[in-house]
Amino acid sequence: MPRADVVIIGAGLAGLSCAAELAERGARVYLVAKGMATTHWTHGGLDVAAPPGARTASDGIRLLAATHDHPFRILESDASAAVAAHLGRMASEGLEHAGSLDDPLGQMPTSIGSLRPAAIVPSAQAAALAPWDDDGLVLVGFRRYRDAWASYAARNLENARWPGGPSAIRAVEVELPDLARLYNISPQVLARLFEDSAWRSRALSAIADALPAGAWRIGLPAVLGRDAHAEVHADAERRLGCRVFEMASLPPSVPGIRLFEALRRRILSSAGRIQIGFDVVEVERSGARVTAIHTEAASRTLRIAADAFVLATGGLAGAGIRASHDGTLTERVFGLPVAAPPRGGWFSDDPLLPHPLEAAGIEVDATLAPAELENVRVVGSALAGMHYLDERCGDGVAVASAHRAAQSLLATRTVAA
């Protein structure tokens, strides 16, 4: 039977970050999850807070902290240290980022040709946020690669309101070497090929040949290597003679995989354990304390005892909270009460506006403990009170709550680190 100081349940940004911080500080951590989480679907940057009206992420945090019941009400003071810790962790694994909480939220072009506000992005995406001056934008697509359509994105971006954007927008489609025989071209196949320097050299030549003359920046599908990403990106800029940025596309997202792998490595190199693929099926309690969890197994269960437990299972969308047909909302691991609007008030009339139900989650005190269980901390989108799609605060709440939970467990010596 494994024993740990802290068991973290959930392998998304919040759970991984919390486990990494605790492990780095010497706690024995055991991270369990029923499967992979949303890291593999995200753009790899950090959406800290960008609610409507915010000029910077700091601004967004202040606006959200003033909102009734928003997690940033508790976490406002953690954000800066948490973001610094996250970026430090990424950098130590070779993933540099650009931007800060106080940089103006820029406009990041997406693969469908929309613009999303962003400030903290991986270095390989930073060229999209730098002032465009007189530069134009060339979006490059790859023939038969069906996850990113350059001409579609370019058409939409031409019609988008993009003040201070590129002087011109073009799209080119490039035939990459050796791909004609493939029916399905997945981003990880391309990422792997880009790490092969001989193939990369031919591919970059093909791209260079397709570029128009003039001052351009190049937007490429986000497939510039996986493990040797920084080297691949630098080589692309050198060979193409201009700034190159990656655009995240349909899942699986290579930048998201890089993020997941970096955090996973941090946990393992700090002697943490990770087991993904098995759900928590039983909880042992003693009064207001959880003493052990059981995860499902091929036969029997695996009992993991710990001093403290971090719930990082996500909200309704991440299946940390389940809704039944009669409108009951259940937190799946500990059965914690879920704060939510009444069944009749779940949805807005306009499907594209935020829905009250999105704010459903677990209510916690200033240490992120729920009232019912003193040695449990709740992090990430399991927390009540946010509309992260509209507020673009999911990553910010994830890292800030992970930081707060880790600090609280270390400080109160709930964990004997």
Binding site: P2, R192, P251, A297
Partner: protein, 396 residues
């Protein structure tokens, strides 16, 4: 458990409706990592599954599902609970049922048959296994790659050693399930690695257990991996009928290969449709040996008088072990040995996947999957490396 979870446990392909097309499975697939020929677990699994079934054509839409090595990493990665590897294995079995199987696949799966001829002829057979010309002929005639991970036959099976030793084979007159265990040695210990079986018996006896080795055959996993379900069911049926009486009487069944023990725990039910009380009793009673020893340690009953071993030890947790959901008990046991510095390989798969790496058309894929692991083991400078499954050890 939702209705869907319950239904999927009975029939894994039901779970494919839960697929949200996120492709996480493809990003963790070791086969997709090294070859473009395999479109990935999602395409051959949840995606293709809707084109399979009565009236659609069992093997539609393509045969690339046969490139799946069956490691099971996709199933564990899936955030939606789709039993991808299990679905793909059943799809392969449907193709085999419809079109038949190669002589090579039927032969390399039939480990008990191989042992029956190989062990008595061990001196001669081992020359062949170590001879480049013979292996070349094996590749040309049979399709077993000349560099495929094979070991040599033992001079004497574990079973015959046990018989000569006069070891117990049936329920004891005085039942003592807490201090008696049933040893499931499987085909590899029997024909290739009887020393491992003898070591296991010695360790169990040293920790106060009486060991019973009842009649048993290969667990059938090689047949399952090759889609030969009828042959696998025959193995499973005979093993269950031998082991169930012990399981029902409260005895634990312990194995020294995480592949065999996973077959007893999970695959008899998930792949071969054994859903009776015998299958459940055996599954609930089955333990991997490291799992059992760690359990003993938790109770303060493990003899921890280990001699120091001052050395680094690269350790590779096999895919099958990871499907047990028991963590990595070997790592915990290594930490009890003074001086031993065990390091988890942190590598997805060695590539062998049972018989997969033997096949002439799969050998390169299997090798490429394992290559970073082989490099790590080499770079560690360690005199030996550890792993819980025999074919992975041979491959490494």
């Amino acid at each position: 458990m939702t209705f869907h979870d319950a239904a999927a446990r009975e029939f894994p392909p039901f779970s494919t409706d839960l697929c949200i097309k996120c492709n996480v499975c493809t990003t963790v697939c070791p086969v997709a990592r090294v070859t473009d020929d395999f479109p990935g677990p999602k395409y051959v699994g949840p995606q293709a599954q809707r084109f399979r079934g009565p009236g659609v054509g069992l093997d539609a839409p393509d045969h690339s599902v046969d490139l799946c090595s069956g490691c099971g990493i996709c199933t564990r990665a899936c955030p939606a609970g789709v039993l991808i590897a299990e679905t793909n294995n059943r799809a392969r079995a449907a193709i085999v049922k419809e079109r038949g199987s190669s002589l090579r696949n039927r032969l390399i799966s039939d480990t008990d048959l191989i042992a029956r001829f190989g062990v008595p002829l061990a001196p001669l057979a081992n020359i062949g296994l170590n001879n480049g010309m013979a292996r070349w002929m094996g590749e040309k005639l049979l399709g077993v790659h000349r560099r495929g991970p094979l070991t040599t036959f033992a001079r004497r099976t574990f079973g015959s050693w046990w018989k000569r030793r006069g070891g117990a084979t049936s329920l004891p007159a005085t039942p003592d399930p807490s201090r008696t265990v049933v040893y499931f040695h499987g085909c590899a210990v029997n024909a290739f690695e009887p020393d491992l079986g003898r070591d296991a018996v010695e360790i169990l006896e040293r920790n106060g257990f009486t060991v019973i080795v009842p009649r048993q055959e290969c667990c059938g996993l090689p047949f399952i991996s090759n889609g030969l379900y009828e042959q696998a069911r025959n193995k499973a049926r005979r093993n269950l009928s031998s082991l169930a009486q012990f399981a029902r009487a409260g005895y634990r069944i312990v194995g020294t290969s995480t592949s065999c023990t996973h077959a007893l725990k999970a695959e008899y039910r998930e792949m071969l449709d054994f859903s009776d009380g015998d299958a459940t009793a055996v599954a609930d009673a089955t333990w991997d040996i490291c799992e059992l020893l760690l359990d003993l340690h938790d109770r303060g009953e493990l003899d921890v008088g280990f001699a120091p071993m001052v050395e680094p030890l690269p350790y590779h947790p096999p895919c099958q072990l990871k499907s047990h959901g028991i963590g990595t008990p070997a790592m915990d046991l290594f930490s009890l040995v003074p001086g031993l510095r065990a390091v988890d390989s942190d590598h997805d798969c060695c590539g062998a996947a049972g018989t997969y790496g033997l096949k002439v058309e799969r050998w390169q894929i299997a090798y490429d999957i394992g290559a970073p692991l082989f490099d790590k083991v080499r770079a560690s400078g360690a005199a030996r490396a550890a792993c819980d499954s025999e074919t992975c050890r041979w491959q490494i």
